[in-house]
Symmetry: C2
Subunit: 344 residues, 2 copies
DNA sequence: CTGTTAGCGCTTTCAG
DNA sequence: CTGAAAGCGCTAACAG
């Protein structure tokens, strides 16, 4: 292995000078500079960051504990993280926890052993993870992506879910819809539901409990929801689904019941999964700024790492989402009244 | 920061003993063992691997340079890599090169600086990457996934493309098809094309040049290919597409031309992308064993790292693929002859 | 602007 | 079975 000492010897300078050349701290004369450069070139020297970290206390490594890499969402965030970490001169240590809190904990410990300078975390909240983060936070800067600890000890990157829901529902309102259903999970505290309520309230419309159907956030649940809604005496003309899986289930049910989307009912999803653009019809949905979230996470972390005040209070960055209008929504005036003829 | 020295002091033993306890090298008496364990526990000590690497020459880090994380393929491989690296006690340093050779090179250099013990690489072949790998190989074990260097200096993990193509075409043959088209790229040396040829030859069938259409490996190209094939005086009754994007384009074109899949023409793809299971009809396709490939890559690397003969010749692991039969293929006997009635 | 010199935290002989 | 001590490769004062 070629070391800084070898470089120094070959360049005819001292190790200190080589170190100054590498780190950029302190002055190095032009003559030395040139000799060192050519020695490095000739020897193929690559500085050993692990050795450097012993003195500097930082490794230039960022840790990323991700909930599930096979999810295109987190994969895109990971990609963005990799890119921005690189741009800031950091390497990225990645661990896919596969939604297993135990693996997350193990990963965090291993990352500490490897001396990561900071941590970015996205797994779902769990008691043990929460505790581990709280234990680690005092000595390790952490930013959570869409993850909240109690108490809040990490920086945080989220997207504006409530605003996204509002824009989805407002889109439907602008199309002339008035009976708009919400299909989501039982968590009525979610930003998606709150946005739905808020948009309706803004338009002076009441929330009809009949139009709010709760279930799992998956396709089957969306399918069932549409059937339930069709059975209503006064079915909705539009549906806001809490995620794309649900929306896709709704569309599938509509197909199977001979209900046209968006001809007879408009559907908006949330997330903009890959499938959304390829469904029939293509799904109008709300897209999260995944790449921007990755970038924000890295920048939050790097600024804390390099900034003067590593111990400033935890920050939260809320990024705007974007309504992607595709083919599953249409004007209410064009909606055929077939539904009321008692389909099901 | 709590160090091994702190642990030693608190446990009333020497640093050497603590080190032996941690690494598992050398004997440690039960008494010492217990005292050290409780000291570590009480202090929350986490060994500093960077410091250890200074002596041991390995960091316990594996590097992974991936072509494009946003591709579900590589994401799944990355996930598998993370999992198996963890199981073998390694951390994973990840860099998404976004198909940019320049970024790959930078990533490799950075990983060397961080002292990764080995490298797993998947980016597309390029002159510069090839050179960089060849330069690095003598001092750093490397395994390529589906990536070949010239000369071959790395271990290699691939899937049996030719066998996959053969099984796809044999599936079609078993369904009674005889006029089977190949739609792929111009690379006739590809395993997919060779498998197509081989399966036909095995069945004693000639390769009709008219049925081989080349183009890009994307949707638009598949779309165009189907139109060209329909224009033939004697169109095929089945098509083997070199990848799913092409197959999906073919199916889309069929829809638009009123040709039923698989009623009038059967289609097989390759890759089993997410969309494949959700197309209409769901696509019969060949799936690569992505998780197994990730596992094989890690195991190849780890065995070289920990095995006696780090300098044994480069190895190649070829994993079997799997034909996933879905709805886009059907028996030829049930194929309506509509095609020959001169559609379009 | 540059050389010298302590360590950083840990592993590894080498005695005992 | 265990302590002492010599580094690993590099950085960071500190003189000069």
């Amino acid at each position: 292995m070629v070391t800084a000492y070898d470089v120094a010897k070959r360049a005819g300078v001292s190790m200190g000078t080589v170190s100054r050349y590498i780190t950029g701290n302190g002055y190095v004369g032009d003559a030395s500079r040139a000799k060192i450069a050519s020695a490095i070139e000739a020897l193929g020297y690559i500085p050993n960051r692990a050795a450097a970290s012993l003195t500097t206390k930082n490794t230039g490594l960022l840790g990323f504990v991700v909930s599930d890499l096979r999810n295109p969402f987190t994969a895109e965030i990971a990609s963005s993280l990799s890119q921005h970490a690189r741009m800031h001169g950091y390497g990225l240590v990645l661990s896919d926890s596969m939604n297993d809190p135990g693996i997350s904990l193990e990963a965090i410990e291993r990352m500490r052993a490897h001396g990561v300078d900071g941590l970015i975390v996205t797994p779902p909240e769990s008691r043990s993870l929460n505790d581990a983060l709280i234990a680690a936070a005092p000595t390790l800067p952490i930013v959570g992506i869409g993850l909240r600890t109690t108490p809040q000890v990490t920086d945080l990157v989220t997207s504006d879910t409530r605003a996204g829901a509002i824009s989805a529902v407002e889109h439907l309102l602008e199309l002339g819809h008035r009976r708009i259903s919400y299909v989501g999970s039982s968590s009525m505290a979610s930003g998606r539901y709150r946005g739905y309520e808020a948009a309706l309230a803004l338009a002076g419309l009441p929330t009809d409990p009949e139009l709010v159907v709760v279930g799992e956030l998956n396709r089957a649940s969306g399918f069932a929801a549409l059937e339930a809604l069709l059975a209503l005496s006064d079915p909705p003309t539009a549906i806001f689904a809490a995620n794309d899986a649900v929306a896709l289930g709704i569309i599938q049910a509509a197909h199977e019941h001979g209900v046209s989307v968006p001809g007879q009912i408009s559907v908006v999803g949330y997330d903009d999964v890959d499938l959304a653009a390829h469904s029939v019809p293509p799904l109008t949905t709300v897209a999260q700024p995944l790449a921007a979230m990755g970038q924000a996470a890295v920048e939050l972390l790097v600024s804390r790492l390099q900034g003067a005040d590593r111990h400033r209070a935890s920050e939260e960055v809320v990024l705007p989402v974007r309504l992607v209008i595709r083919g599953s929504t249409a004007s209410h005036t064009q909606t055929s009244p077939l539904l009321r003829k008692g389909i099901r």
